[in-house]
Symmetry: C2
DNA sequence: TGGCTATATACATATCTAGAGATATTCACC
DNA sequence: GGTGAATATCTCTAGATATGTATATAGCCA
């Protein structure tokens, strides 16, 4: 069970890219490959890492493998971030107040 | 200008640890070193990386350097995470509903 | 069965990075 | 000015990792 392992896996930009592509829903490997400047083995390897971290799930459909997001580890990452939120929320409040003032 | 560089910097567990320690407020390097199982140069190096990513700020006080959190990059990371939130919020709603049902 | 498609794995390599130890820098204080 | 304390930087090294090429595996269809 990886605690905040998601952040280590998602440090890799191509893996973030893959996840972004999967936000549109289930996708076969080939389609992911087509939208990235990486070879198929490289993409498969990233998918393996994502799967091991529980960030994606696979489903076989004939020779195809359909990948989709598993959001749980992202929720954990979000939880890790939570205690820090108060550090910037005040400034954001200030910003909102400032913007609201510009067009009353 | 690092877009989501924070996530790459925070992939390192010791750097997350440092940030956690700084949640308690400004700290000199020596104090951070004392609470970690790392040599002073190693901690200084991590602090350098954190500073380059804009995740911390330094302030000199005599020979001491007081480090503190700069929350902006964390806010960016939070923003990156935002589009994914809908993926798990439904399940969390379900969980909450389930829990609420157990003690009416 | 044979050939084609889709994906995964093996292997080799080049790059990156965290870490330790040693040294340099900066400041306070005598 | 000299000494000691606090921190930064330099150098080197061991380990990790992302990638490409080549190969294996598995399923469909004729």
């Amino acid at each position: 069970m990886p605690s905040v392992a998601a952040i280590e896996v998602l440090a890799e930009p191509n893996r973030r890219r893959i996840l972004d592509l999967l936000r549109g829903g289930e996708r076969p490997v080939g389609e992911l490959v087509a939208q990235m400047t990486l070879t198929q083995p490289a993409v498969s390897k990233h998918l393996r890492v994502l799967k091991d971290a529980g960030l994606v799930d696979v489903r076989a459909q004939a020779q195809r493998r359909l990948y989709r997001i598993r959001p749980e580890p992202l929720a954990e990452l979000d939880a890790w971030l939570a205690p820090y939120r108060s550090l910037w929320s005040k400034r954001l409040d200030d910003l909102e107040r400032h913007l609201a003032q510009k067009e009353p």
